[in-house]
């Protein structure tokens, strides 16, 4: 209706000069990784702290990247209109998959295949079958077929293969469309989005099982994949808003993205605040109700003991506060306020992952009781985050560098530009 929509010129939206920041990210990432390793050696715990801190950081940025892939596929699956203007940002974020794969290879896969159990208890023969100080675990023995180090490595590689493959397909088609403006590419992406989504869901679920849930291999939750995914999309939306604001400031998306788009991102962020709470509570309640020891122990040492306050912090900070905070439309329609909430959400995504991973550091092979050993937050956790952040930025900016920050060839771009919330 509003006939005065002007399509931005290609020249105007190209994200130039990102090679420098990308390289800086790489250098900082590698340096911080070295620092983390040094800190890790300082603990003298067989790099156990190092492994778990790196795992938290890896999961944090992997979650954002997974969320970005989900957003892209979902956009095509629902043939969405409003989100065209921010889709390129999501596509660029998925460019971080390869570098995160290298981190996963180095921190998770190779050590496990070389026989180290510094992260995963199930990789320790003594822990599973008895020997040394360990009585052995019948429950893990029963799952022996699944927990083999080579099989584990193969699975992780497969997950990344799928993620990288999907992200390359969707980002590639979209970039090609910038040049040839061919609407049939949109149809092609829509046609493939259904099966991509199924594949994505399976891979992400099992990745959550393998990378995070298996830290306590005796425990199991069929909802864990959804739970992890809820955090993925949540943290991605916050990242999307922040990255878009940054690109807007740089002038790449100036006059393209409007407060209406942030409002919509905010609505999703609000919805997924609740989704996370819904899923994590459902997971908790089923176990609480059935009250079976091999299911409740995972919650027990998180809820009763040194982690109690941390758990309460999570419930309040990940659910109550952002739910009330993000409810109002005025919050979502003010860039500054909304940006603050996005940062808040990222902090609590970190806290969520930390709560999932860290109690397992002392548990099991760590030979401690997580109920009496509380959070041991240290410099090492910060450097680990900085390191993966640097590498993530490298992957993201590298992908975006020299390309339009906007899917200018998309046939629905005018619709997205004119988008208004009623």
């Amino acid at each position: 209706m509003n006939t005065s929509i002007e399509l931005p010129k290609r020249d105007q939206v190209i994200a130039r000069d990102l090679a420098g920041p990308a390289k800086a990210g790489l250098v900082i990432g590698v340096l911080a990784l070295a620092a983390t390793a040094l800190f890790g050696l300082g603990y003298g715990d067989g790099m156990r702290h190092f492994g778990h801190s790196m795992l938290v950081a890896l999961l944090f940025f992997l979650a954002i990247t997974i969320g970005a892939l989900f957003f892209t596929v979902l956009h095509h699956l629902t043939s969405a209109g409003w989100s065209v203007v921010v889709r390129r940002v999501a596509e660029a974020i998925t460019g971080a998959f390869p570098v995160l794969f290298l981190v996963a290879l180095g921190v998770l896969v190779i050590p496990v295949i070389m026989g180290s159990s510094y992260i995963y208890d199930w990789a320790s023969h003594d822990f599973v079958y008895g020997g040394g100080d360990f009585p052995g675990s019948e429950l893990i023995q029963a799952k022996g077929g699944y927990f083999g180090s080579l099989f584990f490595g193969a699975r992780i590689c497969f997950y990344f293969l799928v993620w990288v493959g999907l992200s390359r397909f969707f980002a590639g088609q979209s970039l090609a469309q910038d040049d040839d403006q061919d609407p049939s590419r949109t149809l092609k992406m829509q046609h493939r989005s259904g099966v991509s989504m199924v594949l994505f869901a399976l891979v992400t679920t099992f990745a959550a099982f393998d990378m995070s849930m298996s830290l306590n291999a005796e425990w199991f939750s069929t909802m864990y994949g959804v739970y992890f995914f809820a955090g993925c999309f949540w943290s991605f939306l916050a990242t999307l808003a922040l990255a878009t604001m940054w690109l807007e400031k740089r002038g790449n998306l100036k006059g393209v993205v409007s407060i209406e788009h942030y409002h919509d991102i905010g609505k999703l962020l609000f919805a997924f605040t609740f989704f996370w709470s819904y899923v994590s509570f459902s997971q908790f309640m089923l176990y609480w109700y059935a009250d079976i020891p091999e299911e409740t122990h995972w919650f027990h040492y998180r809820m009763w003991g040194e982690w109690t306050n941390f758990t309460l912090l999570l419930a309040a900070g990940h659910f109550l506060i952002p739910m009330l905070g993000l409810m109002s439309r005025h919050v979502k329609r003010r860039r500054g306020v909304f940006a603050a909430w996005c940062i808040y959400c990222l902090v609590f995504q970190f806290i969520d992952l930390y709560w999932n991973v860290m109690p397992e550091m002392v548990n099991g092979v760590g030979m401690g009781d997580p109920a009496t050993t509380g959070p041991a937050f240290g410099m090492i956790d910060i450097t680990a985050m900085v390191s993966v952040a640097g590498l993530f930025l490298f992957g993201f900016l590298n992908k975006l560098n020299g390309k339009p920050a906007l899917a200018i060839g998309d046939p629905r771009l005018p619709e997205s530009l004119a988008f208004q919330n009623v």
């Binding site: 509003n2 109700y289 409810m327």
Partner: protein
């Protein structure tokens, strides 16, 4: 602008027509800036941004929904507190009668219920819907607003209303401006409508009243049968009388001398726990004359060992351990000490005051004195207040349980002082050692 000389008290308002969105947006801004309050824009489809152009204030509906959502929160929690923790305390799955995790799903649903209804009906109410008639519908030209035209109507009720000024304002960029006369057609609902509505309203209370009456009245009259052919079938029900057979019963007995498949049970040792060919004890729960040390001359020849049909080896004992764990341990405890989960639970509830009999320890001297055949008979048919398990557990498995009870008795008899000294010895708990001491709390 044909009919401008009409008196403003006789008209409903002035209507301007526009051919596109830009036209109505501009006109809306003008009317807004001129400070009019009683006016509205009519468009064939939702126009983004028109609320801003009209100066519409943000709706208060979200606040109402929030308020009702919070009300739902209180109602949901309150309902569960009142029903389950106050008015009628009821123990579910051993959770506290008032426990938040269990209440959250229901509370959540009540919040959704309240909020959704409030949002839906609140939206209707704030929009003054349903709005059954509008004078604008009388205008021929206005009909196109449902198709491809846009219109604004400023009503004469507006305190600033001035016919000439409004007409001028609306005229800018418009296709046409006209006045809308007051709708003089009789607007009242027909009289029969009130009557029908009253009757229907009263009728809607009938089911409620009947249900209410049913709660307090008894009736001698037979029930009303909706499907008589289903209620009165030409057949005899089980366990009823019928003169058609000589013995006056509707049910038939098996022909004398027949045995149902698998029911032969001619292996006395296996199925009855007595020596082959001797008198078979009745399958009753307890018969002091047949049983235990007090039995007299009628005591059956209980088997002392195991029937020839079973082989007592390690897998057999393992089978017994598993069956015992499934069927017996809930009461008698894994160690056979009589402290199973049910027993513990009953102790904590102080169930003895309702006549609860605790399960016995299976390694007592009394239990040791039973022969294998007697143990088998107890496992099959029960003893005293304990029910039998022949319906659930096949005969061979019952023998496996007997073997396992023997194993318990043998191991529990070991002298603790003979245990290796470097092992910390923990005595097996008895029911007295686990009894909760504050059972006088709700003292009856």
């Amino acid at each position: 602008m044909s009919d401008q000389n009409q008196n403003s008290s006789e008209i409903h308002g002035v209507v301007g027509y526009y051919s596109d969105v830009d036209g109505i947006m501009n006109a809306s801004r003008k009317i807004r800036d001129a400070g009019y309050k009683k006016w509205d824009a009519y468009t064939p489809f939702p126009v983004h941004g028109i609320d801003e152009a009209m100066g519409t204030k943000p709706t208060i509906l979200p606040w109402i929904v929030l308020g009702m959502g919070l009300t739902g929160l209180c109602v949901g929690l309150g309902l569960q507190w009142f029903t389950n923790a106050y008015d009628y305390k009821f123990l579910i799955s051993g959770k506290p009668t008032w426990s938040l995790p269990a209440n959250i799903p229901v509370t959540f649903e009540v919040i959704i219920l309240f909020s959704a209804y409030t949002a839906f009906f609140g939206m209707l109410a704030l929009n003054k819907l349903p709005h059954l008639s509008n004078p604008l519908h009388k205008l021929e030209r206005f009909k196109r607003v449902t198709d491809d035209k846009f219109a604004i109507c400023v009503e004469s009720k507006d305190p600033n209303f001035d016919l000439a000024r409004v007409s001028k304002l609306l005229g800018v960029g418009s296709e046409h401006v006209e006045t809308c006369p007051i709708d003089t057609t009789k607007a009242a609902l027909p009289i029969w409508f009130h009557g029908v509505a009253a009757i229907l309203t009263c009728a809607s209370f009938i089911p409620l009243a009947l249900a209410f009456k049913g709660r307090f009245a008894t009736s001698e009259k037979p029930q009303y049968h909706v499907w008589p052919d289903m209620d009165f079938q030409r057949k005899r029900k089980t366990q009823t009388a019928w003169e058609g057979f000589p013995d006056g019963r509707a049910m038939r007995l098996p022909v004398a001398g027949t045995v149902a498949t698998g029911e032969l049970r001619d292996d006395f040792e296996l199925y009855h726990g007595v020596a082959q060919g001797t008198a078979v004890p009745a399958s009753v729960r307890y018969d002091a004359a047949l049983f235990g040390s007090a039995a007299g001359a009628d005591r059956p020849e209980w088997l002392a060992g195991f029937p020839a049909a079973v082989v007592v080896d390690e897998p057999f004992l393992e089978r017994g351990r598993a069956r015992y764990g499934i069927y017996c341990a809930v009461c008698h405890g894994n160690q056979g000490n009589g402290v199973g989960a049910v027993a513990l639970r009953a102790e904590n509830l102080d169930a003895a005051k309702w006549g609860w009999v605790p399960p016995k320890a299976l390694h007592s001297d009394n239990a040791k004195a039973y022969s294998n055949g007697e143990l088998f008979h107890i496992a099959s048919n029960g003893i005293s207040t304990m029910a039998g398990y022949s319906a659930q557990v096949p005969a061979k498995d019952r023998w496996a349980i007997v073997a396992y009870i023997r194993a318990i008795q043998a191991t529990q008899a070991l002298d603790p002082s003979a245990a290796p000294q470097d092992v910390e010895f923990q005595p097996v708990p008895t029911i007295d050692s686990v009894r909760v001491s504050d059972s006088g709390a709700d003292g009856e």
